[in-house]
C-alpha cells in the first residue's frame, strides 16, 4: 500500500533530457518532499509517477508491481494540483464524488465517504457551493477531499500551496501535515518553499537538473548537506561560503557556516568586517557584513534587536562545531 520505486527512470522531451536515469525509493506511509530550483524537473518527476507523462526509459513500480505502462487512473494514486484543478461546473459535493462516480462506487458508499471527507476537512457547510464561490483555502481542501475519497495508495501534491497567501499557507501546511498523520498514506509533495519542505517532510529529495542531489530527513540535510548545492539550498538565509586560505585552514577547499551559527560582537571575534545593510525584523536582525576578506558578503542572524548600523565595525565568530567542509568538487568532507 503505497511503496513507490523508480528504477533508472528517464525522461526526455524531444532531444532535451530533463531527467537522466534516476533511482528513487519511497516507502509506504512516508511524506516525501521534492525540492529544487525552478525547472529542475520536480513536476515532471511527479507527473511521471502519476502516469500523466510517459517515461522515456526505466521502470516505475508501485507496491512491487510494474506500473510503467498503466494509465493514470489505474495506478491508485491521487493528485492535488497547484491550480487545484477543481471542476468549476460541479458543486463541491460533485467534485468530490467524481472519482467515485468514475469508479462506479455505489451511491450510499459515495455519500458516506463524502460526508467523512467533508467533516475531516471542515467542508460540510460548503458542499453545495461551486468552486468559484469558495476561498483559496477552501478550494484547496476540496481538492484534497477529492483525492482522499479515492483512498489512494499515495497522494501526489504539486506545489499545492503556492497560490495561497502567506497566512493561509501556514494554516494549510499544518492541515496537510495533520492529514498525513491521520491517514498514514504515502505522500509525495513538490514545493520550492524551504519552510514547507523542512516542516512537513519525513524525507526530502533535493533535485538539480533532474539529478537527485541528496535524499534524507530535513534535519539530515540541514546538518549534513552532501554537497555545496544542498548546503546552499537548504536553510534560510543561505549558508555563507568561504574559500581560500581560511578554508584551507580547515583542510577544505571551501567551508560553509549558516548565518545562525555566526556570533556577532561589537568588540571581538574571529573575523572583522563592516556592517552593510542590516534588516531588523524585530524578532531577529540579519546583518550583511562586508569587507571580511572571506567572501563578498557574510550574512549573520542575531536574535532580537542589535544596535549596529551601516558602516559600523563588527566581529564575527563561527560556532566551530557547525562548520561544513567541502572539497574542490563541492562534496562534503567528513
Amino acid at each position: 500500500m503505497g511503496r513507490i520505486q523508480l528504477k533508472q527512470v528517464k525522461k526526455a522531451f524531444g532531444d532535451v533530457t530533463v531527467i537522466p536515469p534516476l533511482d528513487l525509493e519511497i516507502e509506504d506511509g512516508e511524506f516525501v518532499v521534492f525540492v529544487g530550483p525552478s525547472g529542475c524537473g520536480k513536476s515532471t518527476l511527479l507527473r511521471l509517477i502519476a502516469g500523466l507523462e510517459d517515461v522515456t526509459g526505466g521502470v516505475i513500480e508501485i507496491d512491487g508491481a510494474d506500473a510503467t505502462g498503466l494509465p493514470p487512473a489505474k495506478r491508485g494514486l491521487a493528485m492535488v494540483f497547484q491550480s487545484y484543478a477543481l471542476y468549476p461546473h460541479m458543486s463541491v459535493r460533485k467534485n468530490i464524488a467524481f472519482p467515485m462516480k468514475m469508479a462506479g462506487v455505489p451511491q450510499d458508499e459515495q455519500e458516506k465517504r463524502i460526508s467523512d471527507a467533508a467533516r475531516a476537512l471542515n467542508l460540510t457547510d460548503y458542499l453545495d457551493r461551486r468552486p468559484g464561490q469558495l476561498s483559496g483555502g477552501q478550494r484547496q481542501r476540496v481538492a484534497i477531499g477529492r483525492a482522499i475519497v479515492r483512498e489512494p495508495s499515495a497522494f501526489l501534491f504539486d506545489e499545492p500551496l503556492s497560490n495561497l497567501d502567506a497566512a493561509l499557507r501556514v494554516g494549510m501546511r499544518m492541515e496537510i501535515s495533520e492529514l498525513h498523520e491521520k491517514l498514514e498514506t504515502t505522500m509525495i509533495y513538490v514545493t520550492h518553499d524551504q519552510v514547507e519542505a523542512m516542516t512537513m517532510a519525513d524525507k526530502i529529495v533535493v533535485l538539480q537538473a533532474g539529478v537527485v542531489e541528496q535524499v534524507g530527513t530535513p534535519l539530515d540535510l540541514y546538518r549534513a548537506p552532501q554537497n555545496r548545492f544542498v548546503a546552499g539550498f537548504i536553510g534560510s538565509p543561505k549558508m555563507n561560503f568561504i574559500e581560500g586560505p581560511e578554508a584551507a585552514n580547515h583542510g577544505a577547499h571551501a567551508i560553509g557556516i549558516r548565518p545562525e551559527h555566526l556570533d556577532a560582537s561589537t568588540e571581538s571575534g574571529a573575523w572583522k568586517g563592516r556592517v552593510g545593510v542590516s534588516e531588523h525584523l524585530g524578532s531577529d536582525t540579519f546583518l550583511h557584513v562586508h569587507d571580511t576578506g572571506l567572501a563578498e558578503t557574510m550574512t549573520v542572524r542575531v536574535d532580537g534587536e542589535f544596535g549596529l548600523h551601516a558602516g559600523d565595525d563588527v566581529w564575527l565568530t563561527p560556532d566551530p562545531d557547525k562548520i561544513h567542509k567541502f572539497d574542490a568538487k563541492g562534496l562534503r568532507i567528513t
Binding site: A50, M79, F81, Q82, Y87, P88, P99
Partner: protein
C-alpha cells in the same frame, strides 16, 4: 482608470455613440417602419412617411398569402441548427485534440482547415450539384445540413479550439487521475466547462448558416427552401414594392436578430475568435 467622469462628458459620449449606433441601426429600423406602411406611402419622402402616414399590416398579410413563411422558417431553423449541432459533434473531438495534445503540425492543420473556407462556392457548384443529384440529396434538408456543416466546420473548430485552450490542462489531467476515460473526460468535464464557448460557437454558426444564401438557394427547390429562398422571390420584380419587400425582409431577419440580441453577451464572446486572450 477609475477617475470620476463628469456627467457632461458622459452625456456627450452617450449622444455621440447613440447617434452612431442609430446610424448603424437605421436601415433595419427603416424597413421595420416601411413594412407597416401601405405600398403607396412607402415611397414617399422620409419625413412624410414618419409623420404623415398611417400604419397597416397589409404587407404582412400579402406576404403570408403568397408564400408559406412558416415552411421556410422551419427549414431555416432546421438547417441552421442542424448543421451547427452536427458541426459541433464533429468539431469537439478535433478541437480537443488540437488544444490538448498539440503536435508540431497542429497549427498547420488548423490553418489548412480555415483555408478550405476560401474555396469560391460558385466554382464548385456544378460538381456539387452533380454529386447531390446522384446521391438524391437535391432539395433535401439533410443535404443542406451537410453542406452548411462543411462550410462552417473550420470556423467551428477554430472557435472551439480557442476556447479549449483557455481551459487549464490540469483539470483534464485531474479527471484522468480520477479515473475518467477519454469519453467521460470529454462528456463530464470538458464539455460542461466549455458550455459558454460552445454556446457562442453555436450562435455564430447558426447566424452564418441562417444567412447563407448561395448553397441554400442553389440546392433547394420547394421542400427544403429556407428563408434565403423566400427572400429571393421578393427581390428584383418586387423591388419597388417597398412595403412588401420590407415586410418579407423583416420576416426573414427578425428571428435571427431577436435571437442575436437575446444572446448578445455569448455572441460577443464568440465573435472574438480567440483574438483576445
Amino acid at each position: 482608470m477609475a477617475r470620476a467622469v463628469t456627467p457632461s462628458r458622459k452625456a456627450f459620449t452617450t449622444v455621440v455613440a447613440g447617434l452612431l449606433g442609430l446610424m448603424m441601426f437605421f436601415p433595419v429600423l427603416w424597413i421595420f417602419i416601411l413594412s407597416f406602411k401601405s405600398e403607396g406611402d412607402a415611397i414617399k419622402a422620409p419625413m412624410e412617411i414618419l409623420f404623415n402616414t398611417g400604419w397597416t399590416t397589409e404587407s404582412y398579410g400579402a406576404v403570408q398569402e403568397r408564400s408559406d413563411y412558416f415552411k421556410h422558417f422551419w427549414n431555416s431553423v432546421i438547417i441552421s441548427v442542424g448543421s451547427t449541432v452536427l458541426g459541433l459533434a464533429v468539431a469537439i473531438p478535433a478541437a480537443w485534440a488540437m488544444a490538448f495534445v498539440p503536435g508540431k503540425r497542429t497549427k498547420d492543420v488548423l490553418m489548412w482547415m480555415l483555408s478550405t473556407k476560401m474555396l469560391p462556392p460558385v466554382g464548385v457548384l456544378v460538381p456539387i450539384y452533380l454529386i447531390f443529384r446522384d446521391l438524391g440529396l437535391l432539395d433535401s434538408r439533410v443535404g443542406l445540413v451537410f453542406v452548411l456543416m462543411m462550410i462552417n466546420l473550420p470556423i467551428i473548430i477554430w472557435m472551439l479550439y480557442t476556447y479549449f485552450r483557455e481551459i487549464p490542462g490540469e483539470i483534464l489531467e485531474a479527471a484522468r487521475m480520477d479515473g475518467a476515460s477519454l469519453r467521460n473526460e470529454v462528456i463530464y468535464v470538458l464539455t460542461p466547462m466549455a458550455v459558454p464557448g460552445m454556446a457562442s460557437t453555436m450562435l455564430l454558426n447558426v447566424i452564418l448558416a441562417w444567412n447563407e444564401a448561395f448553397w441554400t438557394l442553389n440546392l433547394t427547390a420547394a421542400n427544403a427552401a429556407p428563408l434565403t429562398a423566400f427572400i429571393a422571390s421578393y427581390s428584383s420584380p418586387e423591388g419597388l414594392f417597398y412595403a412588401k419587400l420590407s415586410a418579407a425582409s423583416v420576416m426573414a431577419i427578425a428571428p435571427i436578430l431577436i435571437m442575436g440580441w437575446f444572446s448578445q453577451k455569448q455572441l460577443v464572446r464568440g465573435l472574438t475568435f480567440g483574438a483576445v486572450k
